[in-house]
């Protein structure tokens, strides 16, 4: 496996090209999962815990990268590891601390509450219902725009729409559809 530099990883990860994004995810999984797993297993976690923590950590890292929430010139693997370590320590009730990695010190990134809510929402029944009701096309448009943070033009190209306006209309209508599905749950809560 070819070794990638931090800059290359970030370029692949934030690329509008799905294949490149997948390449970065695969690379990070292959290079870092073993380390995270070893850390978690040493602290009474299980293989399943390691999978969950690493996958959530990688998704959090991806969202932060897409939303420009990451500091510039980060050491990708060290930063991602610190996210995973932070998540595991939090889940077993240990307070986050400053950690040392190599010669550099990294403050554990303060993952914002919104990001945490989104990660947790995935485990809720509501999302499963949304998936069933919203339709494949809406799912794609909304995911590309809000989760992957692609620009309207990029979505147009990826989904082969004929104009930007069609994408905007599609997105607006899909959000209306989403609102109608979610509305009953809002009233309940």
């Amino acid at each position: 496996m070819k070794e990638l530099k931090d800059k290359e990883i970030m370029q692949l990860l934030t690329s509008p090209d799905e294949t490149k994004k997948d390449e970065a995810l695969r690379y990070l999984y292959r290079t870092l999962f073993k380390t995270v797993k070893a850390y978690i297993l040493k602290r009474s976690g299980t293989e399943q815990d390691a999978d969950d923590v690493f996958q959530d950590g990688l998704i959090a890292f991806y969202m932060m990268a897409r939303q420009d929430k990451l500091p510039t010139d980060i050491k990708v693997e060290a930063y991602l590891f610190s996210i995973c370590r932070n998540r595991w320590n939090k889940s077993i009730g240990r307070m986050p601390t400053k950690i040392e990695l190599g010669e550099q010190q990294f403050a554990i990134p303060a993952e914002d509450q919104q990001l945490e809510r989104i990660l947790q929402a995935e485990k809720q029944e509501l999302v499963a219902r949304l998936l069933n009701q919203i339709g494949e096309e809406c799912k794609k448009v909304l995911t590309y725009f809000y989760f992957d943070r692609l620009r309207i033009k990029q979505i147009k190209e990826r989904l082969k729409y004929s104009s930007d306006q069609i994408v905007k209309n599609k997105k607006y209508n899909c959000m209306k559809k989403l609102r109608s599905i979610v509305q009953p749950y809002l009233k309940q809560s």
Binding site: L25, A121, V127, L130, Y172
Partner: protein, 245 residues
């Protein structure tokens, strides 16, 4: 809700407003409760939309993990396969070396102890059996292939002739027909032949050694080794000790 308001809220929530636009929008929020409520609702909707992406990426990461595990298993299977082939090859080589070693040892014993038994023919009864002198000539000249058919012809007439039986066995040994030679010597052993009983035992033992039937050779050698003054007693003792090594 108007599409313009929707777009404004979205731009604000996604952090895509300029500082001036953001400041103006936040001032509006302070006085417009309906707008503030709409911002909260839309924020929650965007979170739900994002969670669709999370779910999709989770599925993608699970399949990456599966792929990694499968690759790892394939690698392990390949390594185990290679190791198994290596071990099998090594065992085959060791077996071959061992067989070669054993075969070399057997050949050495045979070569250092076998000698054709000296037999003379034709000195008596030449009138009755004129072909005997011819057998004797071939036997002396070590032309065993020529001697053997003549011996068989004579044995047809005189099947219990011990000297001819022994000569037949020796000729067969010389012609590498050890299994057949054993059967001929067995006839001499079975009939407890007065003249050639021990010789028959000795050549049976050597035939067995040459056929790699070492366990079958041992009783004959032991019999000779334990009989005082027996034919080849010392050599039989020596071969037994060589076989024990």
């Amino acid at each position: 809700m108007e599409e313009k308001t929707f777009t404004d809220i979205e731009t604000y929530l996604m952090g895509r407003m300029s500082e001036a636009e953001k400041s103006a929008f936040e001032q509006r929020l302070q006085v417009d409760n309906a707008l503030a409520q709409e911002v909260r609702t839309q924020e929650m909707l965007i979170e739900q939309a994002m969670s669709l992406g999370v779910l999709e990426m989770k599925q993608k990461l699970r399949s990456i993990k599966k792929e990694m595990v499968a690759q790892h298993q394939r690698r392990i299977r390949r390594i185990v396969g290679l190791v198994a082939v290596g071990v099998a090859l090594l065992l085959a080589i060791l077996f071959f070396i061992n067989q070669q070693g054993a075969s070399i040892q057997v050949d050495k014993i045979y070569a250092s102890h076998y000698q054709a038994y000296e037999l003379t023919f034709g000195s008596r009864n030449t009138e009755e059996l004129p072909q005997l002198s011819e057998v004797g000539k071939f036997y002396q000249d070590q032309s065993y292939d020529k001697a053997l058919p003549l011996i068989e012809t004579l044995l047809a007439e005189e099947p219990n002739n011990s000297r001819l039986l022994l000569a037949k066995g020796i000729c067969q040994m010389e012609l590498n027909e050890f299994a057949q030679a054993k059967l001929v010597f067995q006839q001499l052993i079975d009939k407890q032949d007065t003249f050639y009983f021990q010789q028959a035992q000795w050549y049976t033992a050597l035939s067995c050694i040459r056929l790699d039937q070492l366990d079958a050779a041992k009783p004959y050698l032991q019999s000779l080794a334990q009989t005082d003054g027996a034919f080849k007693q010392e050599e039989a003792t020596q071969i037994l000790s060589e076989l024990e090594e």
